[in-house]
């Protein structure tokens, strides 16, 4: 106990020193690209893989580290434990904000971060650069996922791509007729289901409203749902305030969301494929669709904590989760496109990768991955955009 505390203090002190060094030298080296002039602190990356530490602490999205407790046939954690001797401790987070704050504690080794968390983690020095040479399966990852603005800085990868997908619209087939094909059922046309509509409880959900406005009110000039100026944000907030009247519950706990759909307290709203799968396994009459306006989505990256106590097991986990078999399993369970091209041969449904557009880069141009909104507009406009702090304040206001 005492030893570990000293070790942790020492690690923190080292990190702080490195951080100071990084800030000091940041002005000259490598400020050419990156995100809005992102200058992450210089942190060392693992140079060679040592023996496993016996365990690994993960922060993950629901469904990313299944050990058979949700469905006996869905288990890629136990085979990993048997093969590497690294026991997996998973902490499920409901939102990106939760992931960021969990990683700040320094108690976790790796995180499955979405694009609205990755850059915040990198900028804060909470995650270390990743030595992709030590992750054997990285070679098979789709090129379209490598060196992207949300997972790398100046050509240095900060994680291993996991997979990508879109946020879907779920509805009760017995309560919502006709079957919806548009997000309007949770916005303008939500009144028939007043009190039984749900929405994702995070400021990032404002982007869903912005995406809907992008298609339905082109005069607002929204080009990217994460780059909103004051007026555009206000329009999205007004739409969400109208939606608030129809909301029964907001969700960030996937189990509570599944339960609400099952009991019928919620009949329509945004969801993830994995929640739809679970509800259908429990015989709830629900269906999840990708509405015609397109959707917000995610492209997730496994990242290693700068203070990881079990870095070797963390690297082995990253290699495991993007290995063809495990990546195929998680992609099918969560309902997303796998990151590993070879995973497409291992899916039980042979058409899976086509259905989820795994290799179809043109398709992904229309899916707006979660990204942290910042002051310098992401769509290249020169006006001032609203940042995530403004979105957070707006979200509290929307919920009233």
């Amino acid at each position: 106990m005492r030893i570990s505390r000293i070790a942790r203090t020492a690690a923190a002190a080292t990190a702080a020193a490195l951080l100071a060094a990084g800030c000091g030298s940041g002005g000259t080296a490598g400020s050419t690209s990156g995100h809005g002039g992102l200058n992450p602190p210089k942190l060392p990356m693992l140079q060679s893989l040592g023996p496993g530490e016996g365990q690994v602490n993960l922060v993950a999205w629901a469904g990313y580290a299944e050990d058979g407790s949700d469905d006996k046939s869905v288990d890629w954690v136990h085979p990993f434990e048997q093969q590497t001797g690294c026991k997996v401790n998973t902490k499920i987070a409901g939102t990106s904000d939760e992931m960021v704050s969990l990683m700040k504690t320094g108690q976790y080794d790796a995180v499955s971060a979405s694009g609205d968390a990755t850059l915040r983690l990198i900028a804060a020095g909470d995650v270390a650069p990743v030595n992709t040479a030590l992750v054997q399966n990285y070679a098979d990852v789709f090129d379209g996922l490598k060196n992207q603005p949300w997972n790398s800085v100046n050509g240095q990868m900060y994680g291993i791509p996991h997979g990508r997908g879109a946020n879907l619209l779920m509805y009760r087939t017995d309560k919502v007729t006709p079957a919806p094909d548009s997000w309007s059922v949770v916005f303008d046309g939500a009144s028939p289901y007043s009190g039984h509509v749900t929405a994702y409880d995070s400021p990032i959900y404002i982007a869903d409203a912005a995406l809907y406005l992008m298609r339905t009110r082109p005069e607002l000039g929204i080009k990217n749902p994460y780059a909103l100026d004051q007026d555009q944000l206000k329009a999205a907030v007004d739409l969400l305030k109208t939606q608030h009247k129809a909301i029964g519950e907001y969700w960030s706990d996937f189990q509570k969301s599944e339960n609400s759909f099952k009991t019928g307290d919620t009949v329509v709203g945004t969801t993830w494929q994995v929640i739809a799968n679970m509800a259908q396994t429990d015989h709830a009459p629900v269906k999840a669709v990708l509405p015609k306006e397109g959707a917000t989505g995610w492209s997730d990256t496994w990242m290693v904590s700068a203070k990881a106590a079990h870095p070797n097991c963390a690297y082995q986990w990253m290699n495991w989760i993007v290995s063809p078999t495990a990546n195929a399993q998680v992609a099918q369970w969560f309902g997303e496109a796998p990151a590993n091209a070879k995973a497409c041969d291992r899916t039980t449904d042979k058409d899976f990768c086509n259905t989820f557009h795994a290799a179809d880069e043109a398709y992904w141009k229309d899916v707006h991955y979660w990204t942290t909104p910042v002051k310098s507009c992401l769509d290249g406009r020169t006006v001032a955009c609203t940042d995530y702090a403004a979105w957070t304040a707006a979200w509290t206001e929307i919920k009233g």
Binding site: V100, S101, D265, T392, E397, G400
Partner: protein, 294 residues
Amino acid sequence: MAPPPTAARPLRRAASVLHRRAGLRLALLLSAPMAWLVLAYLGSLAVLLLSAFWAVDDFTYDVERVWNTANFSTVLTEPVYRAIALRTLGIAVAVTVIDAVVAFPMAFYMARVARPRTRKLLVVAVLTPLWASYLVKAYAWRVIFSQGGVLDWLVGPLGLSSPGYGTTAVIVVLAYLWLPYMILPVYSGLENLPANLLDASADLGASAGRTFRSVVLPQVLPSVFAGSVFTFSLSLGDYVTVRIVGGKTQVLGTAIADNVTLNLPLAAALSCVPVVLIVGYLLAVRRTGALESL
């Protein structure tokens, strides 16, 4: 002669020192509880207050130790926080009033009407719900309020339906959860009410209603306020129940919990609101003598 056991000698010396110095005795006796109170309780409050004056980075959400009062001005000036604070206060007052109204007849029956054997059983019955986990009870209420749940089934024949998840559900569940904390002080207050006061009132020709208003109520009111300290402060700080049956309702507890993940300083500033409300309430009820009957 054999020397006395070595351990006994310092012990006896210490005992005689303690015997002579009453101040030292008192200091030793109180040091442990005082240390607990100051370090664990007041210490954490001080840290809370301190962190409310810090800021966070807009992008990385790292806490920056820069002194400023922006968080307090946000909490005080943003209309949404005022609405949340007032809503929470309303819920706490409603829960307290409901509990007082429900607890009084129950406590009166237990203290003045029931036979001693029944009385003991009733006390056990009131205490039993406290043995079950708070979370389990809240989830049970989630099932009760659910669509087509127990409540729908019960009131359905009357042409009514469950109010669903929301403020009403929160008030009902909190009133249920904190009821024992109201019954017990009122019960002990009524039990200590001298029977001859009631007899004297009857002898002087007062009706039952008059006796209640002029004799029972003034005597027992401090106990009701004592119970209200529990129901009020517990309702003010609650967030678990709101998360489970509150639907989209925002209260101080959920607003703090939402902010604590990313903006700890703002959450700290926000949590000063219930602290101020509770201190204000305690000062108010102190005047009624309620704190003596706790």
